[in-house]
Amino acid sequence: MDRVLFGDNQFFGVNHMSEEKARQQLLRFKDAASIIEVLDQAYDLGIRTFMCTTHDRIGEICDHMRANRTRYRDFIYYPCMPYAHKYANSVSQVGLFETLQKYATGGTVSTVVRGAIGALTQDVVALMKLLVDAEMKRFEGLATPVIFVQNVVTDLLLGLKFTSVFAQFGRYVKERYGAEPGFITMNLPMLLPTLKAAEVENPIVCANINKIGFRMCGGIESYREALRTHRCRAIAMSVLGSGAIAPAEAIEWVCRFEGVQSIVFGASSEKNIRNTRDLIAQHWGPLQQTAS
């Protein structure tokens, strides 16, 4: 796993500090070309792993990468699924069952097939597989060595104590895509023992880890303890606390946080990508990204 990963919140109007900034970004990145331009900058600066939500627009970016394989030879995707708002908006409009049917089948099925799908969705594992496949379609032929479950789903399952799915997801992505499972969470100290109990060994996890403890449920010290006592590969996100911490201070703190193996960050300009990369290099050494 690379030590420095590129995130995608800036592309899809996610900003935890300012609705205004989020909106500006949503407008700026309205087309795939503007996203690709920034991805190119990151890639040319040596950051080749793109941790991306399975947003509708990702499909166009994947098409571009497939059409330019030589240019993007070392480009790696870490898909993070599902894009929750897509499902949430659909659930409130057409209902849970219809939504599952729609996304599990790509939305173009006959009534007869719908009936069969209906029976299949009674089985949660079969349903999970269908949804993973539907989300993974757009990444066909591209490198996806880690496939993540978004925090809204990880933490929902964690709260429901519906945790057998974690191991089943892990087995499925290994078997079907040769990928490792990853879990994004806002509740790392609760998740790690749960994954251990579910027999997900040495999991890849991604959680907020930042100096102000923003969205670190249980607090900074319990994160420290959880990472010290559980074997895992941890990726720190929201390291700048959504912009609340000065970059140099934020990066120094997180680079010294025991157990953090990688950092994922998002930026919209070459200058900010370069600055963050260089700040990390000051603590972890120059970027020498190696595949896992």
Binding site: H16, L156, M186, R215, M216
Partner: protein, 329 residues
């Protein structure tokens, strides 16, 4: 909402979700199999048999009244999703029943648990802006972007529509900031895509000391998700607040720790952490404050049925004002 409350309530070590009632046998069989809860299709039966301390009601709004009344008659503490009911009279009946039975009674107006809005309230009520001269509350989001809808949200009789889904949040937030509403001065509801319900609502509410303009639209795809904003203007300054940011301009001197001029504060430094996070601190904070109230036995808590009645009365007046305007034209 139901699943989200389930996860949040169930995540704490000293609480457990023991039973669930739903009309979908698919959801029930899945939850029974994988989480071990008892499942019911009849809420009365669940209340009588499952040995509950409290109940969360996250069903279509038209069913809130019956569920809530049965629960209160069996002395359960009660959390009901917003809005409380579709009729001010029914909401008032529930509020008095809850008070009489001394049960904790909370409605899910989660904005009241967002730290930026809480800070805005402190500033407005503390006189930071002086005399209030203009207030605007808005909510925009991409819920309905085509004609066809097949859930209860697209059916008026069940509580669907922008009034009870979006406008209720803005009205409740304005009540939170400004106090008890006096009357509705005007109300308009219009459809953009939907056949049976309104997709946009605007209104003017009189709070006695200030008038507030409400503007909501759930068929707006220029935003990624529901975006709620309030601006308050006074003779000493003005503020603009959403769930992430609070910006205040003080024109004539400091207020407490706020210096004259512009100050911007963010959720990152205002929001208290929660023990378990799912979709936003506010969703967890409201559930855990409900539990705290049950433990301490206090009936003085946020989002009581009585406070939700104020919101329901305003919504009802907006609908009436809109009908009256339509029949007049």
């Amino acid at each position: 909402m139901g699943l989200s409350h389930f996860a949040i309530a169930n995540a704490l070590p000293d609480a457990a979700v023991v039973a669930i009632c739903d009309t979908s046998r698919y959801v029930l069989s899945m939850l029974r199999k994988h989480t071990g809860v008892q499942t019911y299709t009849d809420v009365g039966e669940m209340i009588r048999e499952a040995g509950l301390d409290c109940l969360f009601v996250a069903t279509p709004t038209s069913t809130h009244f019956e569920c809530a009344r049965t629960a209160l008659e069996h002395d359960l503490h009660l959390f009901v999703e917003k809005p409380l009911t579709l009729s001010p009279a029914q909401s008032e009946q529930l509020a008095s029943l809850a008070a009489q039975r001394k049960r904790i009674n909370m409605v899910g107006f989660h904005n009241r648990f967002i730290a930026t809005f809480r800070e805005a309230r402190r500033l407005v009520r503390g006189g930071a802006l002086g005399e209030i001269t203009a207030v605007n509350g808005s909510a925009f989001g991409p819920v309905v972007l085509k004609e066809r809808g097949s859930t209860w949200r697209s059916r008026k009789a069940e509580g669907g529509g922008c009034l009870h889904d979006y406008a209720c949040h803005v009205v409740d937030l304005l009540n939170f900031l400004l106090g008890k509403p006096q009357r509705v001065l005007s109300g308009q509801m219009r459809s953009i895509y939907s056949r049976d319900v309104e997709d946009a609502v605007s209104a003017v509410i009189d709070y006695g000391h200030a008038k507030a303009q409400v503007e909501t639209n759930w068929s707006d795809d220029t935003v990624r998700k529901m975006t709620t904003t309030v601006s308050v203007k006074g003779d000493r300054g003005e503020l603009l607040v959403d769930r992430q940011e609070l910006r205040i301009d003080l024109l004539s001197g400091p207020h407490g720790a706020y210096p004259p001029g512009r100050t911007t504060r963010h959720i990152t430094d205002l929001q208290e952490p929660v023990p378990f996070y799912l979709r936003g601190e506010e969703y967890s904070a409201q559930v855990y404050s409900f539990f705290d109230a049950i433990r301490s036995g206090t009936l003085e808590h946020e989002n009581s049925f009585a406070s939700a009645c104020d919101t329901d009365r305003v919504l009802d007046s907006i609908a009436r004002a809109s009908d009256a305007t339509r029949s007049a034209s």
